[in-house]
């Protein structure tokens, strides 16, 4: 096994090695190496179009990489589908949340994993378990009987995260969990991630392009720029300022190149 990233240990629950992906003429990812330790919260930062989403889709089984391999607890795995990745404990919480507005909170929590006493749904059991679980996680909602349409953005995100953890996800990929959220709403999600971190058996990758808030809760930061991971540091060794400078520098360089090409 090659030492692909600095400081890697056998404790890593997830490793992606030499991942590349092209879409026609567009190169989305170039030789990306990423690791995630047990119980770690990793921030995967980068601008729009840098390759965050492509990497996310590869890690959750939505699409295969062109080259490279993925190791789960040291074992090489081929992620063939989202379902299969989920059965291995990798779950993604999408930006659009994948919640069904017209269904109650508990039906959403159990969607496609319903408790059934054939042929009928065991609504009572599902309602009780959902309530118990959300209470344990500290997610505060008026009632598990309300439609998720009636909940606020933060509450919806919390339900989506809780649903993933609830269904035994060991690796949680959060796609822009704080997008379009007010301070109070964002605090709800950050608290939830902190709770997960404290319990320690779930590892989290937070994908975000706005990193100010994410920096508060993550253990380590990876920055992805033009399809490459260009930065990998523990969160305590970096700062908002440093990240800002890197991103601004990249922007200036790109601008200069464009101007050079134009003249």
């Amino acid at each position: 096994m090659t030492a692909a990233t600095p400081g890697s240990t056998t404790e890593d629950v997830l490793r992606a090695e030499h991942i590349s992906k092209r879409f026609g003429a567009v190169t989305a990812l170039v030789d990306v190496n990423l690791r995630l330790a047990k119980g770690e919260v990793l921030a995967l930062l980068g601008d729009n179009g840098a390759g965050k989403s492509t990497l996310l889709k590869i890690l959750c089984g939505f699409q295969p990489p062109d080259t490279g391999r993925i190791l789960l607890n040291g074992q090489e795995v081929t992620l063939k589908s989202v379902d299969q990745a989920r059965s291995l404990g990798i779950d993604v919480v999408y930006q659009d949340l994948a919640l069904i507005n017209q269904l109650s909170v508990y039906h959403n929590m159990f969607l496609n994993r319903e408790r059934v006493r054939w042929p009928l749904l065991s609504n009572k059991t599902m309602r009780r378990l959902a309530k118990q679980y959300l209470d344990e996680m500290g997610v505060n909602i008026p009632s598990v009987d309300v439609d998720v349409a009636a909940l606020s953005g933060g509450q919806r995100q919390a339900i989506a995260v809780a649903r993933s953890v609830f269904t035994d996800a060991k690796i949680l990929l959060l796609d822009e969990p704080l997008a379009a959220m007010g301070a109070k709403e964002a605090a709800l999600i950050l608290d939830l991630v902190r709770d997960l971190k404290r319990k320690g058996d779930v590892s989290v990758i937070i994908i975000a392009h706005n990193y100010a808030q994410v920096l508060e809760i993550c253990d380590r930061v990876n920055l992805i720029q033009q399809g490459k991971i260009t930065f990998d540091k523990p969160a305590k060794d970096t700062s908002l300022q440093e990240l800002n400078e890197i991103v601004i520098e990249e922007y200036r360089r790109a601008l200069q190149e464009r101007q050079k090409a134009a003249s």
Partner: protein, 354 residues
């Protein structure tokens, strides 16, 4: 999202609904919210009022309305609308529609006739093959809609026209008489006077449970409410849609057989009359509280919606007034129901009703 994000969460255990209204306008709004909260309550009230009017208040209707002959008449008009409407509710909830089902209904008796008379197929087998044909039409509609990703409004319109033409072509535009070989089993399907409504009531109960209490129903709502989200949760969206189209085809054929046994003929439904059962069924579904937007709908509402259409039709005949303005009432009912549906959806989004 911005409209909900601003809301402060209500406290646990608090009563649902907005602040109590002040004055007459507030009370009126509360009544409106109450009615909409019980979605089937509105249509149930309308059904009761119409029954009271034709059955008790109107002096001409009172005598005729409760006669056995007239009740049978009412039930035989009502039952086919119910059964088709149940299917359309499932399809509308998962975001689709089947415009062709009326012609599946119309073609099936001809198929039975050809099988029995021209190919000497035994009666029971012929009926089973007819039902298989209905399922096949549903599958074909689903294939075009789900697999080839065409809008169901177009695909099923096309299928409907094709079936309409097949009916006229295969039997040279002639009606067919139901052959005696199948009349025995036909008694249980449709020729016994109360057979149709009995089947309709049983199917209503089954579909209600299917929609509200089974995985299939939950997934149907999920697919119509947020197809992408449902797929991300692992729900097999294509399977749900295929299934609901095939159920619709199956019951379309079944209703076709019922009507054929009851009338003893296979009607050609020429001049596009075959679209009529579908239009009545969709009207019943909408009047009953099923939105065309997907994700919500009610079986009991469709059952009552079909009753309202039937009791109006029957009542007009019983009372002996001209039936010319009948469709004005239908149209009004559809539009009012749709307004209520949209308002209901809005209140639901705001979390005031569920």
């Amino acid at each position: 999202m911005s409209d909900t994000a601003q809301r402060t969460p209500t406290t646990a255990g608090g009563p649902p609904g907005g602040p109590p209204g002040n004055g007459a306008a507030g009370r009126l709004r509360d009544v409106g919210v109450f009615l909409m909260r019980q979605r089937e309550a509105t249509i149930f009230a309308v059904a009761v009022l119409l029954t009271l009017y034709f059955g008790l208040v109107n002096s001409v209707g009172r005598a005729a309305f409760w006669s056995k002959a007239d009740l049978i008449n009412l039930s035989q008009f009502w039952a086919p609308i119910i059964i088709i409407a149940l299917c359309e509710v499932l399809l509308l909830i998962c975001g689709e529609i089947d415009l062709s089902v009326g012609y599946t209904l119309a073609f099936t008796p001809f198929l039975m006739y050809f099988l029995v008379v021209d190919y000497s197929v035994p009666g029971v087998l012929a009926i089973i093959l007819c039902l298989v044909f209905g399922v096949a039409v549903g599958w074909f509609n689903a294939f075009l809609t789900v697999t080839l990703r065409l809008p169901s409004f177009i695909t099923t319109l096309g299928t409907g026209f094709i079936l309409a033409g097949l009916i006229l072509t295969t039997n040279s535009g002639e009606q067919a008489t139901i052959p005696p070989q199948v009349l025995g089993i036909g008694h249980w399907i449709g020729s016994y006077a109360w057979a149709e409504i009995t089947w309709a009531v049983i199917l209503t109960a089954l579909f209600h449970v299917l929609l509200r209490r089974t995985r299939w129903g939950l997934h149907t709502i999920a697919v119509g409410g947020n197809a992408l989200g449902a797929a991300e949760a692992g729900v097999n969206v294509a399977r749900i849609k295929y299934g609901n189209f095939m159920i619709t085809g199956l019951l379309g054929s079944f209703v076709g057989l019922q009507i054929a046994f009851q009338t003893s003929i296979a009607d050609t439904y020429s001049g596009l009359a075959g679209f009529q059962p579908m239009f009545y069924a969709v009207a019943a579904a909408v009047i009953g509280g099923t939105a065309m937007l997907g994700g919500s709908g009610t079986i009991i509402g469709a059952f009552l919606g079909a009753y309202v259409l039937s009791v109006l039709e029957d009542g007009f005949a019983v009372v002996g007034v001209s039936a010319y303005p009948l469709t004005i009432f239908y149209g009004g009912a559809i539009i009012i129901a749709m307004i209520l549906n949209v308002q209901f959806a809005r209140l639901r989004r705001e979390g005031r009703v569920r």
